[in-house]
Symmetry: D4
Subunit: 207 residues, 8 copies
């Protein structure tokens, strides 16, 4: 019998790893329009649920480039660790301290590229007993083959693969907690859902 | 040595979760013609094997839209739980009671979208000791990447991935139990099989 | 400056070529659920617009198998030419006479397989001065490469490539000619459209 | 020797046909995130180059749903023709008059669905001697097969297939006409380009 | 530490399940040319290594059709169980006795369709303590989604996924056991390998 | 009005260009099992219709490797031109003389690789007034992008794109010319068709 | 009857348009490894056949980035036009003069992105009576849909679509003009061909 | 709680299995340009981290062909085991001794073909208690289906799936250990990364 390690908004923190302007040009397992949308959706989700969020970058003064400005702007007070060299964010003491300081046991991780910037801290965190939830669609890498291999490695180690939408639903639990809030999050990041709302509102406002 | 948890028509109930007219527009990991056919095939299968079936919807008065009318029509007496807000159907007491009232330990689940409406109750049910069989081809979601992640999460927790055809075959056990009944189910939902039957009947009726 | 050879319901006839139970097993450039739906949609379209329709088969007593029974049932009074051997239906005098008897100059053609049963009569008809409209999605063949080659051959000769939906729209011209009729045709064969109608009707009936 | 019919900002008008909330659920030949972005990019392009723009919808009070609100908001003063029934916008006198009133000979067309709402007015306009430029990536339809057929039909009639990016480049001619304006358009709608600019600005501001 | 359950030619038997002329028309997750080749390659492999081989069919007098004649011809003395109705071959006593009569503990299974005719006996055999090796490329089903689900179900239960080529290599162990025999098997069923041999032989015969 | 340049068995010759063991390793736009089958099917077709056939190779003593032995064996008396260096077979006088010696005006061409060994002689032949029919599925090249470009170049010049199956049907005209002969050709090279025949024969022999 | 406009090394010049480090991050219709190889192969081809080659860039001091250094290094004496703003290279007088100065009538064009940097000068050149050969596989753009539209626009205007390999073969005409030179070009840029040569050399050196 | 078996440059050895000129023609699950690059990148990585590396081939005097010369040249002093016949390299005593002689417990394996030359020694090594890291993108096989099956078999046995890039990052730990060295490795084998560096260097050198 399995245990359902369910995301809980009181137990979860979000780690955004290396979404940098340069590194993003390496991401080819997902269309750039969709990827950009997913990353911003995850950020909006983190903000909406007021989850402690940690930003980190790798070598941002070099070719990897700066953190995507939207993320910087959205989390002005979040811990921001510009790692001086550690490839695995978990190897950076400041980052580790920031994670511990959240006091959370559930880590929601996304980053670029999947098999390195996501998988390495995910595997490290699992070893330390954290529950790890990888946001697959806000993480990107070179190609689908690379992604599939990274997923299998992380799954075998106990990580749970999710999407920003699934995570938002699991965190929210019940629409009645805030119908408009969740609806807005979806409307802003799921064109098909926005269309449903548009049609619905048009018809009901006429009634 | 593994145990073969085999579908048994006396032990199984069917849960159809959130096949709603609005939500269906989100499904893009499977062609709409094929998906519609699969959902109706699963419903026909449930009816054919007289499996207790439970219908549920999420927020059906809003943009998610009403349950697909064909399902409502096919199971007029089935428990029908229009959830007032719970995203995970398992969190709804009426739904849970309906599941328990079936007295079955095997749950056949399909729904929209896979990583939420299917995965959440599947994970909850597994935790409670139910055997869970996900009907993958009557469940749909945003894209293949999302589906793959959901499958890995459910598989890791012990869910068995099946299709409506595989489930029908495992439930039926032996063609001789009712050749015509099973043949009709297949003929109505598998065009290639229907063609085989058409050719066969034409030739044998001439003989 | 090009001429817009536009489908006109008074000028058009439909040729359904070799949709036979055996031959359908050769069709692999399109999913069988979608293909079956498209063929029946084209048939419904022909009936709805009361277009003269001609059925023909090739060697139906052999392995190619009988005409799909739904088509036979839908057009009980249509000319039905079971060709004794001609591969190009246009080479069969009865078929040719049936085409001429319609008195139409626009031929809507679909069949199995695309590069033979569709392309051959299409090329023959073009040579004779007919306007030819190939219903691509109600025609099928071995694989996409084969289809692409057939399309290029037919396009180069002047055939226009359409779909059943496009043809229905071009024939109908204006929704006001019969809103319900066209809506029903679409609802029966386009699951996404049916969902739109379901949601719309639910909401407006509540208002 | 061919003539290069080149887009010219003084000669061009933009026709946005049936980008309606309901109809968008039919679009499956392109990812919804990318499609939404492309449509908004085309709208921004039209506004940026101050091209006369015409909006039209089909049956917007029914299941097809209202025009996407962003388009309505962006072109408050544009001719807006809610067609009472004509499927081919060109068949609607108001629409036709609006086109003629622009006084332009180059028509940039995009819409949903490609083989109907785009192809029909495109073919009509070509017949009348207009130069037609189809914005392929801001037009959508049921699937790739349908799109390919529509493209071949339009190409054979003389339409030129373009994208919003190609059209913007052809209209702009020279970056020096307004570097920042074009750069902003690209940055807002091409994530990869935005990243280039982000990295570039970061490095040059440090220098 | 894992155990390497390695195929051993003295321990292995081959089960060919329901490769019937009618059922083959259902197989669409693999190209028919490649599939036919793989099935015949597996048969040649079984014969080459003199592995006990069992043939079985389901309802071969009905639309499922007869066993592919090549298999019947290749194993004239093999147990051939035309099951009167059992869908899971393992439920048929004659089949089960035939399996037991081989005295082998390793079962190499292939069949049509994967999630039923292969997966059911595979799961049954695993429960009984057999080592199960699924020849994935000589097994086929409706589409890739169905296959993926079946693979995950079998893998979770302990089946090992292989191909005919991998199995042949694992059984053979050392080229020196019979260079020409293995080379012929590969040359007959791997066009690329045949080409290598052709070029090699041409050059060395000239030398 | 177009002319239907229809293959005629009295007017056609077959050119097999550079199907060499080495060059075949370059072919990646088509699965090797399918490609091998298509090439042998084309050869069988040529033999069946007794079309004059010409074999040619490029540099067969070097890395390009020898002609596939099956072709050499099937056409022992055909002109066989091992070109000393000309890349375009048409540039080789012996080849050109062999073509002229057939006295045919329709040339059926297939080869490796498509954009060179097929396209070059195709374009040369078109210039000289021959009718050219490219057998697309017995021609192969590096990838689909390369093939698509080659197809467009040849189509623009007037070549007709066909497949071996389409060509066989167009040459045969009427099944009654030799039912068994054509049936055997199809049965040997189309697994789905072979299955239809198997089922058909089984049922009719029982009747 | 068509004319075969055949590449001739005495008549051809090569235009490499905007292969810049920044713009390359936009290219997603072709794998980066393959694309890099193709561009360098085209450069090697130009050098090998001593074709006059022209380099040009767009806004190379901005985010578009510098010309790929390998190209700069390979053609140190080639005209190099860093365009101050013209998007269509043909609109730049220096570029146009450089083209005219070559005295060639055949223009081999490749660049980034296909529908702009390649298509615009291609269409301009065609209008001026040049023969245009697009090297499709050394040109890249956002996605396959964009590429397909660009190809149709250029083909309709008379451009010929080729690949670097096809162009090299058409230019070389006869292996005997320089076996080793052409072989080296292929060996350096076609891994499969290099393998053929490796095996060949190994075997023949042993003989 | 899982253990993170992390690659450690002091604990790891590299096994390159059967990257032979002939066998490479069998690899079709990955584009040849990309595959060649990945294999050379893995070799460069092994050299850069000074990992003990072992080369082995299977039957290199026959059609399988010689080891790719680049690998031979790069590791002139590495153990090189030309196996006389063992298909599983682990069955060869010299190979096994070479592995043991490295004294390493972590084995990084890549080879051709994946399900045989990689999977067999991987499974053998896992059984002996080694930690196994499969470099998936420097391993190739017949098609994606075959690869997927091989991956599942190896993952189930405890192998970790990685890529050369992921492995390099995990071995390096911290950029500061040698920024230029790692940057060069990436620049030589990741075109997108090279472009980032090119743009970065251009801009910073100007500053």
């Amino acid at each position: 019998m399995s245990t359902y390690n369910r995301l809980n908004k009181d137990d979860a923190a979000v780690l955004l790893v290396d979404h940098q302007a340069g590194l993003l040009s390496l991401v080819r397992d997902i269309d750039p329009d969709r990827f950009k949308n997913n990353v911003l959706a995850l950020a909006d989700m983190a903000e909406y649920f007021q989850l402690p969020t940690i930003l980190t970058t790798s070598f941002e003064d070099g070719p990897n480039g700066p953190l995507v400005p939207e993320l910087k702007a959205q989390f002005p007070d979040a811990p921001y660790i510009a790692r001086p060299g550690q490839i695995n964010a978990w190897d950076n003491e400041d980052f580790l301290n920031a994670v511990k300081a959240t006091g959370k046991k559930q880590l929601i991780i996304a980053g670029v590229v999947t098999e390195v910037c996501v998988a390495f801290p995910a595997l490290s965190a699992l070893e330390k007993g954290f529950e790890v939830f990888v946001i697959t669609d806000a993480s990107g890498t070179f190609n689908a083959m690379t992604r599939d291999a990274a997923w299998q490695r992380m799954t075998a180690a106990g990580a749970q693969l999710m999407t920003w939408f699934g995570a938002a639903c699991e965190l929210h639990r019940d629409w009645r907690n805030d119908i408009e809030g969740l609806g807005t999050l979806f409307s802003n990041h799921i064109p098909d859902y926005r269309n449903l709302i548009t049609s619905y509102n048009t018809l009901t406002s006429k009634a």
